[in-house]
C-alpha cells in the first residue's frame, strides 16, 4: 500500500469516528457537484435543524428571518474555482456568495472551503482561516464541505508542525484545526452536534 493511500485510509477512519462524512473525489468539478447534491438534499427549510422551529425570544427569532433562500458561501476560492462553483449554483437556483458573511449571521446552508492540510491520526483538517469571511463561512454554515488534497495529509500533528509554524508566522494569522462538526455534551453528557457551528462536516479527499 502506498504511503498516501495508508494515510488517506487512516484519515478517513479517524474522521468518521467523529461523525464526519468522508468521500474521495477525482477532481474539483466532482467536489462542486457533490456540494450541490448535498445542498439539494438538505431540507427545504434549512433552518429546521438550527432551532428556528423552536419558540425563541424575540431578538433570536428576528434573526431567523434574515435568510432568503438556500445559500452556498465559498470565500477564499480563486477566480476560476469561484466561477465554476458559482455557475453550478446559478443552474440549480442556489444563491452563491463569496463575501459579506456578516449579512448572513442567521445562517447559511453550506460553507465550501479548501483545507491546506490534513492530520491522519485524528482526522483533522488544517484550515488557514486568516480571512474573516472564510472563518465566518465555516462557522455560520449548517454544512461545511471541505476539500483536502490526499498529498497534503500527514500522519501526526508533529508532522504538521512546520506547516503550522509557517502559517502562524505569516501574521496576523488565524489557523484552525477542525475535527468533526461543532459538538457539545454539556447537558447530561449527551452528545449533541451543531451547538454553534456546522451541524455536518463533509470532507472530500482530492486524489492527485
Amino acid at each position: 500500500m502506498s504511503d498516501t493511500k495508508r494515510l488517506v485510509d487512516l484519515f478517513t477512519e479517524k474522521a468518521k469516528l467523529v461523525s464526519a462524512f468522508v468521500e474521495q473525489v477525482k477532481s474539483m468539478d466532482e467536489a462542486y457537484a457533490y456540494t450541490l447534491d448535498v445542498c439539494d438534499k438538505k431540507d427545504a427549510c434549512q433552518l429546521l435543524m438550527s432551532g428556528c422551529e423552536s419558540e425563541l425570544s424575540k431578538s433570536a427569532d428576528a434573526l431567523c428571518d434574515t435568510k432568503p433562500a438556500k445559500i452556498i458561501a465559498a470565500p477564499g476560492l480563486d477566480a476560476a474555482a469561484s466561477a465554476a462553483l458559482g455557475g453550478l449554483c446559478l443552474e440549480r437556483g442556489v444563491h452563491f456568495i463569496t463575501q459579506d458573511m456578516r449579512k448572513h449571521l442567521g445562517g447559511i446552508d453550506i460553507g465550501f472551503t479548501k483545507a491546506q492540510a490534513g492530520i491522519a491520526e485524528t482526522g483533522t483538517l488544517v484550515l488557514n482561516s486568516k480571512s474573516e469571511e472564510l472563518r465566518l463561512a465555516t462557522m455560520i454554515c449548517e454544512v461545511h464541505v471541505c476539500v483536502v488534497r490526499a498529498a497534503d495529509i500527514r500522519e501526526t500533528s508533529y508532522d504538521m508542525e512546520p506547516v503550522l509554524r509557517a502559517m502562524s508566522k505569516d501574521a496576523p494569522a488565524y489557523v484552525a484545526f477542525v475535527t468533526g462538526a461543532s459538538r457539545t455534551a454539556d447537558i447530561e453528557r449527551v452528545l449533541a452536534i451543531g451547538v454553534h457551528g456546522p451541524l455536518e462536516l463533509h470532507i472530500l479527499i482530492l486524489e492527485d
Binding site: G51, L56, S157, L164, S168
Partner: protein
Amino acid sequence: MQTARDLKEYKGELKSALNNEFLREAMDKFAVAYRASREKAFAGMDLETLVREVAQGKDQAMARMDELFAQFKKNAEALGVTVHLAKTAREANEIIGQIAQKAGVKRLVKSKSMTAEETHLNHHLEALDMQVTETDLGEWIIQLRHEGPTHMVMPAIHLSRYQVADLFSDVTGAKQDSDIQKLVKVARRELRAKYVEADMGISGGNFAIAETGTLAICTNEGNARLVTTLPRVHVALVGLDKLTPTITDALRVIKLLPRNATGQAITSYVSWISGPGECQASENGKKEMHVVFLDNGRSALAKDPLFSQVLRCVRCGACANVCPVYRLVGGHQLGHIYIGAIGLILTYFYHGREKAKNLVQNCINCGACKANCIAGIDLPRLIKEVFARIQDEEGHPLQSALLAQVLKSRKLFHTLLRTAKSVQRPVTGGTPYLRHLPMIFAKDQGFRALPAIAEVPFRDRFAAIKPKVASPKLRVALFSGCVQDFVYPEQAEAAIKILAKHNVAVEFPMDQSCCGLPVQMMGERESSRSVAAQNVAAFEPAGCDYILTLCASCASHLKHAYPEILGKDPKLAVKVQQFADRVIDFSSFVHDVLGVTPAEFAADGKKTTYHSPCHLCRGMGVTKAPRELIGVGGMEYLASEEEDVCCGFGGTYSMKFPELSAELLKKKLANAEKTGAELLVTDCPGCIMQLRGGLESRGSALQVRHLAEALAARMK
C-alpha cells in the same frame, strides 16, 4: 462555590448532595463511562512517557516564566496585540473593564475561561453596566442560574435536562421541550443573537506560545471562534501558567489533554491566533486585540520547590472524573471555582484559606487523581500539604494534636493500645468486634463493625514463631504496621509461615512504630517526620535484603513518602533511601521474589474475588501479582466490577466523613457480592477492617481474608 463557614456546615452540604438522586445517578454513570472512554482513547500509546514529557516540558517552561512572558509580549506586540500583566484578580478585572470602557463596549460575549471564573470577571463587568453572555453551553446555563461550575470541562454536569428546559423556558419566555437536541438548538439560536450584538469578545486560552506570540484555544462547540471573530475587540484572559515556549510544546499537550478530558483524540476545534487580523465590524477594518496575563500568585508558585508542579495543570478535569468522593457529592462540594483534586489545592492559593479549609479535608487519599493526571502532579501529597499549612496557620484541633503527641512516643502509643485491650471486654461482648461503643466514638459508624484489639499483639508472639533458618536464602525485616501488630496479628503470622517454608530469615525490629500515614493525613507534619525517623532508625536497612510489609498503605508510605519527608535531612538522606529501596509488599515478594508455585498449595477452587487496595495498585503499582496468586493458591478468581476503586476506608477519613465512607463501602461490597464469590481477599489490613466490618454489619456470608492468610491456609 464554598459558602460553608465550618466543617459542620460543610458536612451538612455533603449530606444534602448525597441525597440528590439525580446527581448520584449522573455521577455514577459518568465515572464508569469516563473510565472506559479514557482507556480507549489512550490505547496503544505509551502514556507513562508522554506524561513524563508533559511534566518536564511544563516544569522547564514555568522555571522560565518571566523570560517567556517577555518573549510572548515582544512577539505579540510586534503583531499589534496589547499585552497586559495583572498581579491580582482585581487588577485583571480592572484592566479588562478599562479596555471595554475605552472601546465604548456595552455588550460582551465570552467563551470559556476558568481564569475569568477565578477572577469573577463577569461580576466586575456587570457592575460597570455591561452585559456579559457566556457562550459555552454549560457556562451559559450556570450563568443563567447564578451558580459556579461543578466541573472544569462540563460545568453544568449536575443539572438535568428538565432543569435546563425550565431555565430555557424562562429565558425565551416560551415553553421548552426537555429533548436535549432541541434544547441545544434553542441555545444555538439564542446565543447567535448575542454574538451579533456584541462589541467585545472575551476568551481564555490554553496556550500562550512565546516563540510566535500565538494564542491557542481548544473548544468543542466552536464558540471561541465566533467570540474571537465577530466582535471588534478581543480580550484573552490567561494565567501565566499558560505560557508555552514553542508550538511543539503545545502540540504535545494537545495530544493528551482532550483524551484525558473527554476521551476525544482532539477537540473539534483548535484555533491558533497570531495577532489581530481583519475585522469588518471595526471602523478601521482591524481587530483590537489584548492578552491579559493573570499572576495572582502564579509567579511565586513557580519558585516554590513543592507547589510549582500545580502550574503544570492543563485543566482537563480528569482528577475530578476519577475521584470517588467527587462521584458521590459533585463539584459544588469538591471545589470553589477550580474543581476536583487540583481545585482543593488551587482554592487555597487563589481564593484563600476560608474557602479551602473544609474542602482540603475531603480527600480520601486513594491516589486515583494522581494516577490519571497527564501532567504527573502529585495531587494527594499537595492536598495534605495544604491541609497541614492551614492547620499551622489556624491552630491544630485538639484531637489531631493529641494523636500526634501520642504517636511520637512509641512506648506511650503501644501502652495505650494494650490498655485499650484490657478494658475493651464490656464493649466486645467477647466477640472480635467492638459491639457496644459509647456514642461519642460510634457516631455514624453503624455501617461497619469496628474490630477489637487482639488478645496478644504480634510483637509478643514473634519470638515463638520466628523461623529457624540455618542458611537463609534471603533476609527479611518485617514491618507489621499498627493494625497487624495490634488488631490482626494472624495475618502477619500467616506470612511468617510462608516465608519459613521458603527458607527466609525474618527479623521483627521491636522499636518499629506506626508508619506515620495517619498523622500525615491529619496534617501533623512534625509527628509524621518524627515517627518516620524512628522507623528508619529501628530498621538497619543495610542489614537486610527486603523490608516486607503486608499493609499496602504502610508500603507506599514507607517507599514513596519517607524519602520526601526525610530525604532533605543530610543525616538521614542515605539511610532513608536505603530503607525505601528495600520496601516490598507481600504480593510482590511472594509472587516475584519467592516465586511460589501451585504445587505448594492444596487447591480447593474456592470462588474468590479481590479488592485492589488503592495504595497497592496505585501507590505501589502492583496489580498482577495478587490476582495471579489467587490462582496459584488454588482458588478460583472471579473479577468484580471496579476492583481498584477505593473501599472508603482512608484511615482517619472514615472517622471524619463516615457517611461518605459508608457509601463507598456499600458500592464496593455490592460489586464483590455480585460476583457470587464466597471469599474476598485483599492485601491491606486497613481495607480488611473496612470490608469485614461492613459485611459483618450487613450480616453477609462473604468472608474476608488477607491474601497471606488465604495462601497459608492452603499451603501443603
